[in-house]
Symmetry: C2
Subunit: 159 residues, 2 copies
DNA sequence: TTGAATCGTAACAGTGAAAGTTACGAACAA
DNA sequence: TTGTTCGTAACTTTCACTGTTACGATTCAA
């Protein structure tokens, strides 16, 4: 699972988890994401530390949501993933004594801060329940069989 | 020169270039940035393609600014560097047919677009001439010898 | 015309961060 | 007790990017 797609993939997983009874094992999630159970555990650990999910060991164990999707935004998930930096660009530190470098750094850091604020504001406006509801609507409109309880999981399949 | 610091470093270089007579060779710039002349050429090539600098071969050749710093913003430099993506996060493409994934992607791409717009707006407001002027002011206030023509380049040194 | 300086660029090596993998211990339920 | 599942350390693999080498093309000056 590439680092830059963790937010999208975890959001996807959480929505489907809300539609399925019982816990989702790391193994099942890993197959859904074409990756390894250990990678799933590493990633989900951040969500657990933030109180978004809980984990249980042993048979019938796995991962469970702790709250309804109405109380979860993309920003919550994003923060739980503890991305080191959202940006690929940043300041430099070659000539700490040079006022030119210092001012250039300052301008760049300021611009990134503004962008970061805009990003968080936008992510905070998206609840996972919105994604589920719109997904169900899309599915209902598209599917001749009528609406399912959960998109793509009518027969318990994860996709 | 790490990818994420190219904007800061190139802005720094351009400001100093504006203060020095003659062309700056890739070799001199490379020493300033503690990197390799080939890396400098690769990076400056983007600025040349955007018409920000010109290059000349042969003795006394090197890199020259094509316009005054008043007509150059951080956004101009940023665009010239052709950064693949400013963000470390992005959408996924695992389940193209799943409406949940599609909507999550859409929300994330939308949030990133808003952040990108904010970033570009902030970078566009910073002219390189502002950085030079403020740098000179800082230097003058700090330096007992009084103001220099160019910060850190009183004796032609690049720093 | 020759030679030094300089950019242009291809090709390859080196680096580093993150994902993927293996292995094994701990907890839990039947 | 046995099988399931998470927790985590340790290692390998991968990938993108920088760094490096090499060589050709161009330009200037003697």
């Amino acid at each position: 699972m590439s680092r830059d797609s963790r937010l999208a993939r975890m959001a996807h997983v959480l929505v489907h988890m809300a539609c399925n009874h019982g816990a989702a094992t790391s193994d099942v999630i890993a197959r859904m994401l074409s990756t390894n159970p250990v990678v799933v555990r590493r990633t989900m650990a951040g969500l657990r530390d933030r109180g978004i999910v809980t984990s249980e060991k042993g048979p019938r164990g796995g991962w469970r949501l702790t709250r309804p999707l109405e109380e979860l935004t993309l920003l919550d998930v994003h923060r739980a993933l503890e991305t080191v930096s959202v940006f690929t660009i940043g300041p430099t530190a070659d000539h700490p004594e040079c006022p030119v470098e210092h001012l250039a750094n300052q301008a760049i850091v300021g611009a990134l801060a503004q962008a970061g604020t805009a990003l968080e504001a936008a992510l905070a406006q998206v609840r996972l329940s919105d994604i589920l509801a719109e997904g169900q609507a899309l599915r209902a409109a598209r599917d001749a069989d009528g609406p399912h309880v959960c998109p793509n999981t009518a027969r318990g399949a994860w996709s």
